[in-house]
């Protein structure tokens, strides 16, 4: 990397980190407030199966050392979090951080994997359309992309499982503990592929990439390069492909996270979605706060990546 590029990257990085910290703070506060104001007792999950009176319920808070006032609770959580302690789940007693990292990584794999698949499908189609214009092939491909984008992922999942079961005679679910499972790699890929195809963003990605690519190709500097007989590709790549791809990835991550929840459920993928739902239902404060932080961090990761790419490619400074 050229020395001139390092400083803007470092600047961009530090700016993003500061912003991220501020944002995470904001997110945590809002989430906490909503949780606090919602009906339901976070400790009632411990008392399930036993009809405890009010005194027993109050007794739990005392027994577990929960501070009384809401802001004290928030500050105590914040204090612990800054020390790296995200607390323990009320329901399982397991440390939140460890649990979330595990499921978070699983969801991250699913999300990023599916993004990769989406790009693998979208990028060639977009490039083809941008570079070659409207050919006989581009229309059916584009239509296919549109149809696939409108397909509800929750239905596609079942369809895929049905096909595997009845046409291939395979049961595409990964089994954690049962030793060597033939086709395990295949089973790993299935939910990623399903999410990659049906997350609803393919047509938009194609369109965005194609438009950006076309726009860049029409820019003067490219025309000049072409006229001079130079390689269009090298010049167009950075602005026409790399930047739009990171932009669209960054903006679509939150959307895909939502689709991941559904896929996780159908394919028994041990991810964050299930944990989030269970925690919301149980009002498991520490877990929800942890998940909110991690999910927000994911999203920031996307913008971080975007800023880094901008800075690396455009040392003059990022434009909006």
């Amino acid at each position: 990397m050229r020395p001139a590029a390092i400083r803007p990257i470092a600047l961009a990085l530090s700016r993003e980190m500061a912003l991220t910290a501020l944002l995470l703070l904001g997110v945590s506060f809002v989430v906490f407030l909503i949780l606090y104001l919602s009906p339901g007792d976070p400790f009632s999950v411990l008392l399930e199966g036993q009809m405890a009176g009010d005194t027993a319920r109050a007794g739990i808070r005392e027994a577990l050392g929960v501070p009384k006032a809401w802001y004290a609770q928030y500050l105590s959580w914040l204090g612990n979090m800054l020390k790296g302690n995200f607390g323990t789940s009320i329901r399982t007693g397991l440390p939140v951080f460890g649990e979330i990292v595990r499921v978070g990584l699983n969801t991250l794999t699913l999300t990023l994997g599916s993004l990769l698949i989406t790009l693998c499908i979208a990028v060639p189609i977009a490039l083809h359309a941008a570079v070659r214009g409207d050919t006989a092939l581009s229309w059916p491909l584009t239509m296919l992309a549109y149809v696939v984008s409108a397909l509800p992922v929750f239905w596609l999942g079942y369809l895929v499982i049905y096909v595997f079961i009845h046409k291939f005679g395979l049961f595409p679910l990964i089994s954690g503990s049962s030793g060597a499972q033939e086709h395990a790699w295949l089973y790993f890929m299935v939910p990623i592929a399903v999410l990659g195809i049906a997350n609803g963003t393919i047509s938009e990605v194609i369109r965005y990439l194609r438009d950006e690519m076309s726009r860049v190709m029409a820019e003067d500097y490219i025309r000049t390069a072409r006229a001079k007989g130079g390689s269009v590709w090298r010049h167009a790549f950075k602005e026409g492909l790399l930047i739009p791809v990171t932009e669209i990835i960054a903006s679509k991550i939150p959307f895909i996270l939502g689709g991941a929840v559904i896929v996780e459920q159908v394919f028994n993928w041990p991810g964050m979605g299930r944990m989030a739902w269970q925690a919301a239902q149980d009002r498991d404060f520490p877990v929800i706060m942890g998940i909110a932080m991690v999910a927000a961090a994911f999203v920031r990761l996307g913008s971080l990546l975007q800023s880094l790419v901008y800075a690396a490619v455009n040392p003059r400074g990022p434009q909006e």
Partner: protein
Amino acid sequence: MKHYSQVAGEIGAYSDLPFWKKADRGDLAYVAYGLFIVTLVLVSYALGALKLLPYDPQQISIGLLNAPPGRAGHLLGTDFLGRDILSRLIVGIQAYFLPGLLAIAISLSLGTALGVVAGYRGGPADALIAYFNDLVDSFPRLVLILLVIAAFKPDIYYVMVVVGVTGVPGVASLIAGKIRFLRQKNFIEAASVLGLPAHVIILKHILWYNCRTLLIIQATLGMGEAILIETSLSYLGFGVQEPTPSWGNMVQAGANYFLQGRFWPSTAPALAILFTILGFHLLGDGLNNILEGKRKK
């Protein structure tokens, strides 16, 4: 966030040919299909509201559970309680239509307001709004929705408020971007030199002439997204609750029978979702290409 290309060098309305003569066949086809779907949705909505349905969507028929299409006059069969699927599909539109409009109304109005302030004023207002945008963008929308449902109740309108608010940054940045673009082209400066008051510039020239297509397109895409969110939530069990029909909860109810080989109860609503979202997407993209101008080779 949805991004659309800024077409260099074209400001204001085209003056020569009416747009439908200049447009690409494909785009016209998209728009035609899209409009067809929108009409279908509106008509069905009306039918549902006026209760002009083949069967009562809540009428249970214990003897006729999960009937295939065509049985006993049920054009699309019955669901797990023997209720007519076609009628429920029609009424299911009500699950997302008005809530979707709410979401769109919120994101467009707030988004435009913020975008105008950010773009027109610039400076610290811009930075503050940018922070706000980033904050809202960072919010894990799903977690927020789950929380809202837990905190209040599984009401689709509450959810759509969340969706609307989380859609604000996208619209705001588009509007702000458009304004910056116009500013770059000295459009705004020219207008104010001519003595036009600020609110006229903003309302008439910026928004109406230059942003309206953008907003229309955002509205169509917003509806597509609202359908997706509402059906996904209802599928998971958080959105519209029984016995009110929603395409999402119909797919969920039918999915229980899918692996046994009975496809129809879940496929009918899934196809409805497919064709409708497709319609809105195509409408949005077609309009975008036609109205905002498409790069011709």
